[in-house]
Symmetry: C3
Subunit: 359 residues, 3 copies
């Protein structure tokens, strides 16, 4: 595509040769001829001189640039739009591969594509233009909306409801049994049948090898627009709000309720039955054991407000010095006491503290 | 089902109209007509008035309830039994789907069901009434007991032994190679062949996307009755005792030995070659680096007894105040020293501590 | 195999009856007749007396042993070599199972084996002697090198490049979309198309249920010789160096760069865009938020040098004692002040600290 054409489609100002041909977007350090690069920081502009990139997207108002340039007010958003223009995604031809096993009473709306060796059980509905990859399993009576994409080897159990424009990556399991038992005699655990459902609303994306358990009774629900990274665990009866983001390796325990526009960073743990308020942010590796009000920002395990956490980390770093200070203070007390003739109380000294262990 | 019939089958006392029809169990906040609800806490009883539920299970001895009621001594257990009565699980018709690939020398006992597109390698035995879902893989010479359920896309490698009444959820991998290498020249790692096995005893349930590695030599073993949640890692040569519970995203390193009736909460890590005693409880996100005696209750990373942990967390929360107290003490010492004519020792002040960083 | 033959092949010194037949390697506590055991520690030698093992591998220079013995300078390496001799791995017959779906333009080099019900998309190349298990998916234009092994149910997306002698375990997903969005109006997230690739260099092993995301643009790269355990997350545009080891349940965030010969223990988290220097070691459950120089050894969340971490843990264990010491110091100050007639400043006492909580 010519840079001039791209500029028009993106609504950017063009500086330099509009005839320049660009074929690909590339990171600055990997760019070769025909590549369009995206410069996030002005300090990276000089690197463009030694790059083989043919053109660059930079922020309107940046210093002049040694390549033909697209100037954008929001260069990151322009970069994403350029990606969409240059990479037309690989939409497969509609139709069901003959190797699939499609059971009775399946309803496929127009232009659905299903890849090889997938299994669709009885009573399933799949909406218009949805693409189901190879080796996918869709359980009885589940419903998939329109314009969805299920990548190869996704597993959807029975009775799951999925909205429109939902993307699910490979290896992800939706609707597995929740982890619930009652203690019988002699500590033996009796399985609680997990007869509830999972509902994924519209515009959700779920990463690879995620697990979302069905409710015991009722519904495990993910609300619209929420994005979930790889290897995340969502337990039974959890409700995740709208436009929330959950990073990799996080786990949300049973019946927890996560608000709208919440951010859970990586490896976060949320205990069962608590509530995380709207717009809260939970830092990486935090462990949240109590409900959080809206707009909380927490860190640590157990999680505390992030300023408290930072103060504690800073104070903890001074602990060895505190021990030293205590020793010096005690020495000064002894001097004062002997000078004044006051008898020092029999006390455990800081010295003895630093020689004894914990517990 | 009529409430009267349910009361008889569950051995509960019925209060109110025995003709009431119930079709479904539902959570209190979602219940509609025809639903039976389960009231865990007396404080939830008033909510029943505004609920559309047709009937309720409550604890014997609770205040009167505005709906036809089943009174139970253990209402939670009764709820589970009611689930079993109202939801007859979807037992598939026995038989092997014609799309499966079943190799030579496979022995299927009576009433086994195998779903579409599964692969069963040579020498496998599957016990009576076991249900193998679609797209499952069972490796050479593995043995599955009776009344097992393997959900779609489970992967069992060769030589794995599985007892009776074992449930394995989708995406789980049993018998993958352990993570073992020897360091050769120049730091290059040479793979140690992993030629051991995995044994899962009776009455085990394993969640979705779990990984259980085969032993290097010998056996990785999970003992009877143990329940494992989603996304858990069990390394080579681990032994997990009976009736133990392991929550999501926990990892047990090589050759660790977990006792009977142990509870590992979510995201717990256990280092290699240690032993966790019977009836121990390890709190969420704890990291256990040393063997634990029976009945230990630990928290934290590194894990310590839970009371120690709580004391430390409480003390840590007072650290900034400790710094302030030290400053005030030093000021008082200076006053005393100047009053008594004693020369204060050259000392690092608390002030200087709070201004300097860590390390 | 006779012990004499094994000794010759392994280059070990034989002590005792060379006619002894050994069939299997076994752990000491499980050994039966015909088993060769490996004694790692001299203290385990007495256990051999009560073992049914037929022979043992022990370190050259150890005390005499009550069984026919192979003496080795590096007994662990010898054990690994013995494993390779006694367990010839199960190399399947070359050929493509007729149940597979192989699209057009696929190039299979000589002696490739592909198990049942796998899908190989258009434009894929698979190198000589590589073994692809059952139910594997290989996306369009991906290239697999020679002598690779993909276990059943591996999922490789389009455009992935895999070197020679790479092993990938079941359930692992290579080339799923990175987790990247731009914030549009009203907090709605717009997906950034993930059009980059994944390159796995030679001699890599990747565990079960791992996820490695493709780059946004450019490459997510794992360099030669690196070994990755189960359930690990590698985000988009990450670069992992050569001969690095990553233990289970660790997560590496987007664009992070991990050096050569690095060790990440279990459940480690690495934030995005940072750099971990060559030969660094990150302890279990550590959370690394800042770049680390080469040869760092860190622990904790946030991670600090391991000696600092140990000092802090030790100091934290003394916190309750520090509170007691402060109380005693204050009592002594009061005595001194009343003796000298100095008025104690109005101050928050240690007592009050220990009675008040934090936040």
């Amino acid at each position: 595509m010519q840079l001039r054409e791209l500029a028009e489609k993106l609504g950017c100002r063009l500086v330099g040769d509009g005839e320049t041909e660009v074929h690909r977007l590339a990171p600055l350090h990997e760019a070769s001829e025909g590549d369009l690069v995206f410069i996030a920081r002005t300090t990276d502009l000089p690197k463009l001189k030694t790059s083989k990139a043919s053109a660059a997207i930079i922020r309107e108002g940046s210093p002049p640039c040694p390549r033909p340039t697209l100037l954008a007010n929001d260069p990151y958003l322009t970069f994403v739009q350029a990606l969409r223009l240059l990479y037309t995604s690989d939409q497969p031809t509609p139709g069901v591969h003959p190797s699939c096993v499609i059971q009775e009473g399946v309803r496929l709306e127009e232009d659905v594509a299903i890849g090889p060796l997938s299994v669709v059980e009885a009573g399933v509905t799949i909406g218009r233009r949805s693409v189901v990859g190879a080796q996918v399993y869709i359980g009885k009576d589940s419903r998939i909306g329109a314009d969805c994409r299920l990548y190869p080897q996704v597993m959807i159990r029975e009775g799951v409801e999925i909205g429109d424009r939902v993307i699910i990556h490979s290896g992800t399991v939706i609707g597995s049994d929740g982890f619930g038992y009652v203690r019988g005699e002699q500590g033996i655990r009796i399985k609680i049948p997990q007869v509830g459902r999972v509902i994924l609303e519209d515009d959700i994306e779920i990463g690879a090898n995620v697990t979302i358990d069905r409710a015991t009774i009722g519904v495990t629900r993910i609300k619209r627009g929420t994005k979930i990274d790889n290897l995340v665990q969502i337990a039974h009866n959890v409700v995740v709000g709208a436009d929330t983001v959950i990073a990799a390796l996080s786990g949300i325990s049973g019946s927890a309720k996560i608000g709208d526009r919440v951010t859970l960073a990586g490896q976060v743990g949320i205990v069962d039955h608590i509530e995380i308020g709207d717009d809260a942010t939970v830092g990486a590796q935090a462990g949240v054991a109590k409900s959080l009000p809206p707009e909380s920002v927490v860190l640590g395990s157990p999680a505390v407000p992030h300023l408290t956490f930072k103060r504690r980390v800073a104070a903890a770093s001074r602990l060895p010095q505190i021990l030293n200070t205590l020793k010096r203070i005690e020495a000064r007390l002894v001097s004062l006491e002997s000078a004044s003739g006051t008898e020092g109380q029999q006390s455990q000294t800081a010295q003895s503290i630093s020689e004894r262990g914990a517990h």
